[in-house]
Symmetry: C2
Subunit: 343 residues, 2 copies
Amino acid sequence: MPDSSKNKKLPTIYDIAEEAGVSYSTVSRTLSGFEFVKDSTREKVLAAVKKLGYVPNQQARSLAGGVSNLIGILVPGLTDDYVIQILHGIDSAVTESNYNVILYTTNRRQGKEATYAATIINGAADGLLLVAPIKVELYLDALREQNFPYVMIDQVDLEQRSTVVSADNHKGAYKATQYLIELGHRQIGFLTGLMQLNVAIERLEGYKAALADHKIPFRDEYIAQGDFRMQIGYQGTQELLALEHPPTAIFASNDVSALGAIDAIREHGLRVPDDISVIGFDDIPAAAVMYPKLTTVRQPLIQMGREAVLELLARLKNPDHEVRQITLATQLVIRDSCAAPCK
Amino acid sequence: MPDSSKNKKLPTIYDIAEEAGVSYSTVSRTLSGFEFVKDSTREKVLAAVKKLGYVPNQQARSLAGGVSNLIGILVPGLTDDYVIQILHGIDSAVTESNYNVILYTTNRRQGKEATYAATIINGAADGLLLVAPIKVELYLDALREQNFPYVMIDQVDLEQRSTVVSADNHKGAYKATQYLIELGHRQIGFLTGLMQLNVAIERLEGYKAALADHKIPFRDEYIAQGDFRMQIGYQGTQELLALEHPPTAIFASNDVSALGAIDAIREHGLRVPDDISVIGFDDIPAAAVMYPKLTTVRQPLIQMGREAVLELLARLKNPDHEVRQITLATQLVIRDSCAAPCK
DNA sequence: CTGAAAGCGCTTACAG
DNA sequence: CTGAAAGCGCTTACAG
């Protein structure tokens, strides 16, 4: 009668040592790629490894060697395609390295960010990737005190003390607004992102700058508070449409909230782009297949993820690798959701 | 001059013990929730923890205690929304537990599955979630030999020896085919999934069964080989369209390949659904916002992820938790991509 | 309720 | 090139 709770013991380096007739130190050296091992010894060890089906215990390796070969990733959640695209870029670059990934989703619970960061600093991973973090200030000092390798993605470090990979939000927002102006729009609503984030602020600034450059007065009532989520985009748009002089175009701070905006517009019996134009930001995959296809500002999300990994890997290899701010270009992608204002 | 490579030492239980004036064993007991600790002692320890900002080292905990509080997740990749939805479900359930997630993407490199599985078994995680794995047979024995807790998602275990959470593929495919038949279609093309996977086989069987029940002869030339990816869906559809009597409707084994099918159809100057109907499988988020909105068979992907976590958690708590096959219902979602055949 | 000891499976100076 | 020893930061019987 087999005892289901008793598992066959997994082989350790001691078992390998015995099988190969060498000391466990030698096994360890061979397996960790140490160079000064006699070929014949190496072969004996490798044969024993194969025979016993030995696989190293990562936790023990990590504890003894101080290296986990794990990269921690902190993401706000898995619901936004925006995050997924970045993750995809991260994954593709990590796959090419010999690191693995430990994933923490904060689901916007800001307290969790700091908790997870602390765990990671305490040995759970060798480095940390922060995707659009909200409460960085809560643990940035801890990261720096430990000289812990980390890279932020889609954030703005005003003090320039962190390596940050982001897109040119200001210019992107400027181009989007300018495009609407060139189509003839003068009443342009703006749906903000989560204004705790600098990227959201930068997009608003880009919008303002474009208005100013074209001598269009900034109107406070055309600014609707959003938070990058669809539902709030929907609500904000409702407010804009309820205005006495509703805007003829709406610039949403990201594609997901543009989706919410379009919903709200349709619910009012209006059509996109015939009655109201909508422009987004991000260029998530859905933007190209939805109806109408969304005109938007493309952020190179996958590339941002990749670049961030490359920077982190460089830091991991060389702790003195310079801190830098990488800003990737954004690009206006014109599709079908914008038109000249009617009448 | 600060040495950037020398980090301040992180506090350990020994530091806490000293600060609190107790033994390190007591610190360990207090922190791991051991019940027989005097209240006053507990308070002293907790105060010291707070004062020194102590955070336990997970690797050490895992090595000593044999429990990592990590769940390993093996996914084919991060490009398919299908996988993302499942991951989302997994994440939402894991978040409610005190486990964290270590994520491995195989990117369809089948050898990696076994390697990752071996690492996980060797202490990297306490349990394993397999999302649509391809080469399970390579490591299933190892998992079972160790009595290692695992759950498969969207797989079919013909031997019924694994806990599996999946959707009713056969019935779903049957309903989709039946729907096309009821619209009047008789020439129905079928774009297969990756036929190494039982779920792909089941969908084909459902299609065949529906044809048979409606006395429509099965035609081999109407079956195009796919692999669940857009590009191959596109190619397969090209083949179907090149037939002397091309089908009037195409049933794609998943939404992503339906996207490829629609591309191919448009390239032939034909329209969906006016000239050819297309139906998918999965109901990924894009299906509802694309144009035309995709008629498809919904799999409860998020729920599948959640259920799998719940089962795994149950196994983790009780190693003798019964192995079972959970099959969730699929649902036909009628949108705009199917119509009666023209003429 | 609490301490001292052994051990988890490795890595890495230290000798030789 | 290789062995013996110490140690990584914890947990968990074993005593008391």
